[in-house]
Amino acid sequence: MNEEQKNKYYDKYLQAKQKGVKFWPDIIYKDLIVSFALFLLVIGLAAFVGVAQEPKADPFDSNYVPRPEWYFLFLFEFLKFIPGQLEWVGTTLIPGIGILILLFLPFLDRNPYRHWKKRKIGLMVMGLIVLGIVGLTVRSVVTTPEVEEVALAGSIAEQVIQGQDLYSIYCVECHQPDGEGGEVVGVEGLEGVILKPINSQDEMWTRTDETLFNVIDYGQQDLGMPPNGLGYGGELPRNEIEKIVTFMRYTWDERAEIPEEAIVGIPALTEGEAPSYEVHISMVVKRYCISCHRPGKENNEYLMGSYQEMLTTGNNADKNIIAGDLQNSYLILTLYRESILDPATGEEMIGPMPPSKDLKAEYVEMFERWILEGMPETADEAAALSSPAVEEVAPESTVTEVTPEP
């Protein structure tokens, strides 16, 4: 800009100022309105949207899809278009040039005019860049997979409940449902090993949370305790191990007081009530069977993760559960602790279940009634079969029993 242009600018500006308003109160008044509106917006967002809950950082969980703050998304997205060996062009050269141009814009733009009609090219370039940034951001939001809903345990009670579920899956096969230990049966490599109880006072008073965490994370491999942490070849991220520790501490350590809400028993059956998969069976299975009957374990391919799986998987899928027939359902026979022999070879095909010790009588009865009622899945289906109906047909059923085959 030459002197003449500068003077012209000052003249114009002086005129504009004279026609203008006072900073206080005219301008400040507008500023305050906008700031106040933003303030309300921020409070509203903080109160009603809040900050998303995230699990604790887990350096070993490298499956996590990194998500930068949204205003960096466009840069991440941009990098995807740059081939690997030219990475530095996308990470350094282009952003660097962009920043330098922006910073020195007043010197690079020699056009003395300020009205938009006289700066069309400049405005168009800026417009395209802004569009590009917005476009890349949108593209990135659309293409990154949704954050998986992780069950975040907030309260102690939630942690204990989730910890118990995890314990039931990963630990019961060896340590038994209540950590009581004893002889291991039906687990590859540890057959016949006697485990000390881990729910005892000795254990709880001499192992800190951190020790328990490390035992679960790293295992005690010389003794046969497998590593469970993702960092050591197991399946559990750190926050899940923490939940198991919380469960153990609050359930087995008499010094810790377990919150009321954390005690979730398996609902007992009342007289004449038909059990359903949803309310009863799935709970028993979760505590006593799932640890072995999940993929990757030795179990005759019998998975018990869902209603469908329970009825359709297993080497003896057609015989495991036969509606109304207790004497021939393998599942019931194994609970009676009978060995089932292979008809062809006469060797034991299925041992007693759960292998190491009896299932509580009330749960065995639950399985019996469930199979007698034809394996209702939902609570509603079971309710339809419950008390009144059962009592009405009771006399008839004795009749059917004496006529086994027509």
């Binding site: 500006y13 100022k17 301008i27 109160a47 809040g50 950082a57 960096f72 007043p106 733009d109």
Partner: protein, 219 residues
């Protein structure tokens, strides 16, 4: 009495002079887009106030950072609100800054004599993004951990300096307690110091030069 007190302070602080140079000055008539700068300033102040509150409970160590944030949101009275405000006002700040920049660009306000206002503005924008980047790691959750892993890797790809930058940012080769300490220090001391400094210059320039007018067709 009140008049006397005012006169006492005025004699020493020059309140009248402040009033006449800063508050009681003439400004060209402008539109609502010109409020974005002060809106950004307002959000900056909110960030500072809520940030100070958060540091009272936040502990920058990998072992407890996450739990201290949990404590802020669950244990401290209104902690969740303060944290929410800090989070959302940071988000809005980036938006208002971006729009503020676009408006000064659109009206050519970066031209003579406001070149320095613009340049300090650009630096302020970069510092604000830096605040976002460093603040993101502090909750030490999955999201922050992995985003920072990638972000620091990106700095590592800078030719020649990459390795150096990478190690300086992380405090070693791994994302560790040192990284967290560094990011925390940058987030609450280094970057804010830069912001305050540049903001001071930005503001003095604005008062000195006056807000630009909306250019007429011949300007």
């Amino acid at each position: 009495m009140a008049g006397k007190v005012f006169a006492w302070f005025d004699e020493r602080l020059g309140l009248e002079a402040f009033y006449s140079t800063v508050l009681d000055r003439k400004i060209p008539k402008v539109n609502w887009w010109f409020t974005l700068g002060s809106a950004s300033l307002f959000l900056c102040v909110i960030q500072a106030l809520t940030g100070v509150f958060l540091t009272m409970y936040y502990v920058p160590s990998p072992a407890v950072a996450y739990d201290s944030i949990q404590y802020i949101t669950k244990g401290v009275a209104f902690g969740w609100l303060v944290r929410g405000i800090h989070h959302w006002s940071a988000t809005l700040l980036v938006i208002t800054l971006f729009l503020h920049m676009l408006r000064t660009f659109f009206y050519g306000a970066y031209k003579f004599p406001r070149e320095m206002t613009w340049m300090t503005g650009v630096l302020l924008f970069l510092l604000t993004l830096g605040m976002g980047l460093t603040g993101y790691l502090l909750p030490w959750n999955q999201r922050s951990y992995w985003a920072t892993t990638v972000a620091t890797e990106i700095f590592g790809t800078v030719p020649f300096l990459g390795d150096f930058l990478f190690k300086v940012l992380r405090g070693g080769t791994d994302l560790s307690a040192l990284t967290l300490a560094r990011f925390f220090s940058a987030h609450i001391w280094i970057l804010p110091a830069g912001v305050v400094l540049l903001l001071g210059v930005h503001m003095v320039l604005i008062v000195k030069l006056g807000i630009s007018n909306i250019p007429g067709e011949d300007e």
